[in-house]
């Protein structure tokens, strides 16, 4: 797994690089947007971590040019809180996620893992979350290597949550992703599916947290 960090603050870049390296990633650090574009043309990266406030060509411009390239590399924006405008918020520019500076390393590492997992899922048919394995082509799930029965709706809800590990997903978003055309699904129905999923996954240490009045969050699986 190869990650490019585009960050002009050397101390921050080095710190982040060391953490990611300690998790087993290969890390390249560049300080300027132009270098990032060049590097992305020549090498293949599994993730680009991009600072918005770069000197010279800023992060938004770098992102635009990265998106113009053939291969779609996942991009995680590093941004100061006051730079989180609606563009970043809506990820309109084609970024996959963002983290506000300053950030806790644990949170950053979790986002990186989630993004890489997600892009792999899009690239390949298999999604892994701790002891859980989803074969999205065969539509079969395995828990600790054992086949796991999932009803259609349960499968759909789990897919939505798996795409956003460690992120809160609102019930509305889940309904939109799960409901068929012209079908009305109640919030209660979602609760039912989630509680069934919990019953099946929690014994294996996979936790779905309820965020009261809002939605659910699939916690990152921590190996014990």
């Amino acid at each position: 797994m190869r990650i490019m960090i585009v960050e002009d603050d050397a101390a921050l870049a080095r710190g982040v690089a060391r953490i990611l390296e300690s998790e087993g990633y290969a890390v390249d650090v560049v300080a300027r947007g132009e270098q990032a574009i060049l590097a992305a043309e020549q090498e293949r990266f599994d993730l680009v971590m991009l600072d918005v406030g770069l000197p010279g060509m800023d992060g938004f411009e770098v992102l635009r040019r990265l998106r113009a390239q053939a291969e779609r590399v996942p991009v995680l924006l590093l941004t100061a809180r006051d730079e989180i405008d609606d563009r970043v918020h809506g990820l309109d520019l084609g970024a996959d996620d963002y983290v506000a500076k300053p950030f806790a390393m644990s949170e950053l590492a979790a986002r990186v893992r989630a993004l890489i997992r997600r892009s792999q899922a899009q690239a390949g048919p298999k999604v892994v979350h701790g002891p859980l394995l989803l074969d999205t082509v065969a539509r079969r799930a395995f828990l600790n290597g054992e086949p796991l029965e999932l009803a259609g709706r349960e499968w759909a809800v789990l897919e939505v949550l798996l795409a956003k590990v460690e992120r809160v997903v609102s019930k509305e978003v889940i309904i939109q992703a799960v409901a068929n055309w012209g079908e009305e699904l109640s919030l209660n129905a979602i609760e039912v599916y989630v509680s069934r999923l919990r019953a099946k996954l929690e014994p294996a240490g996979i936790r779905i947290r309820t965020v009261r009045g809002f939605g659910y969050m699939l916690e990152e699986h921590k190996a014990v």
Binding site: D9, A11, L12, A13, R14, G15, V16, R18, I19, S22, D51, G53, L78, A80, R81, D82, I84, D85, D86, H89, A100, K101, P102, F103, A104, M105, S106, E107, E166, R167, V168, S170, R209, V211, R212, G213, F214, M217
Partner: protein, 460 residues
């Protein structure tokens, strides 16, 4: 410089010349009138003198005046004045009348044998006419005199009749000046009213269009000053914003490295120190964010209220991730109760206000507690509300005003904050015309509730 009213000064400067003009006008009106009037009165006396001269009789060198008593009574009768006369023989001897009338002044040469002059008799001012009349080939002196009552009356009359209109004109002039100045200064009054009404945040130029030509230099100078202040203000805000902004990247680096260090096996003593460094870093980063928010919320900070419509619910939903993790770390139940609530405002600042409220609740609620974020539109007055409630220790009523002040912290509390959080909330609320209400949870029980009550949003 002594403070003087423009009006007072104008009047003071106008008054002496107007008074002088008044006096001059009176004098000018006096002479052309008084001369012929005096001449006419004199002529009447002369006529009497000539008539008396005709009545002088000479009998053998002896002079007498043929004046019956009735005629003398007629002669002496006058409504206003006492009349005197004296007839003297050519040798100066007394013939008839009041003796002792002042003689004509010797320096006056009688023209046509008639002299008019002033004198005093029996303690009274007199106008006297002396007439030399032919008598027996010689000349007798006839004097006729009268007191000056009539003449003084005439004088008073003339002075009054010329003075009154002049005084009226002068008064009218002064009044016109008084009200003219008042009217002329009206635009200045309007200007000062406009400036008085302004909020100290409003540094836009004053409208010069309606101001009269003469006040334009003042308005322009004022506008130039306002612009400079706004510019200076903006520079200061920009500096603060930049400084705060620039601080965050190195702080992120610092945080990264302390976390890295903590992730490695370190001696126990070192670990405690490192943890302190880490905590301080996180706090400093938070402070940088708060300073940035304050800079943005102040005049010239680029606040753009009224530009965007923001749904408070979406605002909360977008930021929820950040807090959920923190709540989990602290074993708090963070919940939401969200309904659509649209307000006009600055999304960044509103997010910042919200972040401060949630941070406070997460910080002060003991583990196991509940924190809830509400957004709603109040049914009775359609006012959008953003509210954060917790079941922590709450804020005593006596402290509720003070906690909104900058850098104020409730004595005896152990929080790690800077005391800026609620001050920022108040600042941002103020910018949006919202009220900050601090109380206890609506459902009752102990805890803290902070509500931002926004003005009703305009219908889309």
């Amino acid at each position: 410089m002594s403070v003087q009213s423009l009006r007072g000064q104008l009047l003071r400067q106008l008054l002496p010349p107007v008074a002088a003009l008044l006096a001059l006008a009176t004098v000018i009106a006096y002479y052309p009138t008084i001369e012929p009037a005096t001449a006419a009165y004199d002529q009447a006396l002369i006529d009497v003198g000539l008539a008396l001269g005709d009545r002088i009789q000479i009998n053998g060198g002896k002079y007498s005046l043929d004046l019956p008593d009735a005629a003398e009574r007629v002669l002496r009768t006058d409504r206003y004045d006492a009349i005197y006369f004296h007839v003297a023989a050519p040798d100066g001897g007394h013939i008839a009348g009041d003796q002792g009338l002042p003689p004509p002044p010797p320096d006056k040469t009688p023209q046509d044998h008639i002299i008019a002059y002033d004198g005093i008799y029996a303690g009274k001012d007199l106008r006297i006419v002396a007439v030399l009349v032919p008598c027996d080939g010689k000349r007798c002196l006839v004097q006729v005199a009268e007191t000056t009552n009539k003449r003084e009356r005439l004088l008073r009359y003339i002075v009054l009749s010329s003075l009154v209109p002049t005084v009226l004109i002068a008064l009218a002039t002064l009044l016109i000046v008084w009200f003219g100045v008042k009217r002329g200064l009206e635009p200045l009054d309007l200007l000062s009213e406009e400036i008085k009404r302004r909020s100290p945040r409003d540094l836009r130029p004053v409208q010069a269009a309606a101001a009269p030509e003469e006040t334009k230099p003042l308005v322009n100078a004022l506008n130039a000053l306002l612009e400079e202040v706004a510019q200076a203000n903006q520079n200061q805000q920009r500096f603060l914003a930049n400084a705060a902004h620039q601080l965050r990247t190195p702080l992120a680096g610092l945080q990264a490295h302390t976390e890295l260090a903590l992730a490695q096996p370190v001696p126990e003593g070192c670990r405690a120190e490192l943890e302190q460094v880490h905590l301080a870093t996180v706090r400093t980063a938070r402070l940088a964010n708060q300073l940035l928010a304050l800079a943005r919320a102040e005049p010239g900070g680029g606040f753009a209220a009224g530009l965007g419509a923001t749904d408070l619910r979406q605002l909360v939903q977008g930021a929820a991730d950040e807090w959920v993790h923190r709540a989990m770390e602290r074993d708090l139940d963070l919940g939401f109760d969200l309904a659509e609530a649209r307000v006009r405002g600055d999304a960044f600042l509103l997010r910042e206000a919200l972040a401060n409220l949630v941070h406070n609740s997460l910080e002060h609620t003991p583990p196991g507690g509940h924190v809830t974020v509400h957004t709603t539109v109040r049914a009775e007055d359609r006012r959008p509300i953003l509210e954060v409630e917790d079941d922590g220790p709450g804020i005593p009523p006596a402290e509720r005003e003070r906690v909104l002040e900058r850098f104020y912290r409730i004595p005896g509390t152990t929080g790690t904050g800077s005391g800026l959080g609620l001050a920022i909330v108040r600042e941002i609320a103020g910018l949006h015309g919202a009220e900050v209400e601090i109380g206890t949870p609506r459902a009752g029980g102990r805890g803290c509730r902070v509500s931002l009550i926004f003005p009703p949003a305009p219908q889309p």
